[in-house]
Symmetry: C2
Subunit: 211 residues, 2 copies
Amino acid sequence: MSDDQARIPEATTRRLSLYLRVLTDLERTGADTVSSRGIADLCRLNPAQVRKDLSRFGAFGVRGIGYDVAELREIVAGLLGLDTASRVVIIGAGNLGQALADYPGFHGGGFEIVALFDVLDEMVGTVSRRGHPVHHIDDLERIVRADGVRIGMVAVPAANAEDVVERLAKAGVRGIVNFAPVRPEVPEGVAVRNVDLTVELESLSFFLRDT
Amino acid sequence: MSDDQARIPEATTRRLSLYLRVLTDLERTGADTVSSRGIADLCRLNPAQVRKDLSRFGAFGVRGIGYDVAELREIVAGLLGLDTASRVVIIGAGNLGQALADYPGFHGGGFEIVALFDVLDEMVGTVSRRGHPVHHIDDLERIVRADGVRIGMVAVPAANAEDVVERLAKAGVRGIVNFAPVRPEVPEGVAVRNVDLTVELESLSFFLRDT
DNA sequence: ATTTGTGAACGCATTCACAGCT
DNA sequence: AGCTGTGAATGCGTTCACAAAT
């Protein structure tokens, strides 16, 4: 399972995160086993899709029964690399950066937000509502290296995004979630997810014409 | 061009938004014409992809020359329904809701943010940094109907998202961008975009294992 | 009877390649 | 010569359908 990563479609990895969420919920509600159909219904997917996704990594189910909820939850968490927490930095301590820092969904284990960074002197030294410190962007490389930060979330204006991404990559970050409305160039070996709020809203608008 | 919407892949509509962005930039820099390759390079796409996307709606280019930047920008904006502004409400005036309300990318025309809504009494009556008012959620239906709001952005906790989506749909909203970590059920005729920050981060984590 | 795991079929989006226009 | 528009080819993810297992 070393260089299998490349052969797994991104769509599958996104669904794994969905599966983890419903498995966590199922475990909390006390369910012992669940069928591919049970998972699929909760995710609004096809049961065959769920089985095919899971079967890429092994045969975790029991025919006639289904999957053991607790066991599968642990397996999926492991596949996603969430058994050991990854350290995360957030670049840009504006509205969006602060919202990301305090976003409850990131604090279920698997991620540890180390700090935010900004260029504005009046922000530096403050902390977010949840207490994450804001550093000056000049300290980015030092802190990333010192703390072994693996993921950066970019919440800066479009004009600065390309530069920030390059600095993160050079400092050794391995994954970037980019919220700036640009498609930054990234070195080989650095994974990127672009979350483009303008695209979401404008593409939605398309389907609303003449209504 | 009435019920063509259904035949257009969502992927194409998302790229239209990208094309609009680069065309706007090109127009600002004074470019008169641009080739499909020029657009493709800026979006990190294949030139044939750009031509095929545009050709779904008509033949806008000139062989041997390319596309007229200003003309194509206007055409694409029209396709996306951005020639007339859609009114938008944001449900949830927490960190994320406030960040969305003040997000600069939404204010280039095409959208008008009417208000935010929340259940917390201490938020009601306040305004966001940019001056968008926060109303009580009880006033949601009234304001949506009175102002002809067409789009809702949902930034509430997972537990409340399903209910909020249903209320928006019943009040007549036609499109929803959902940031809550659930896949809400929506009535026929309402378009949804799910932006799932946890999925972005966790699916990224997958590709970082053993590194 | 129920449900998994998977090869085969399908559908769809992307890319190629070239005719046709300037 | 340069570039668009598009049918054909390709590639890839999803769904079907069934043998295998309990």
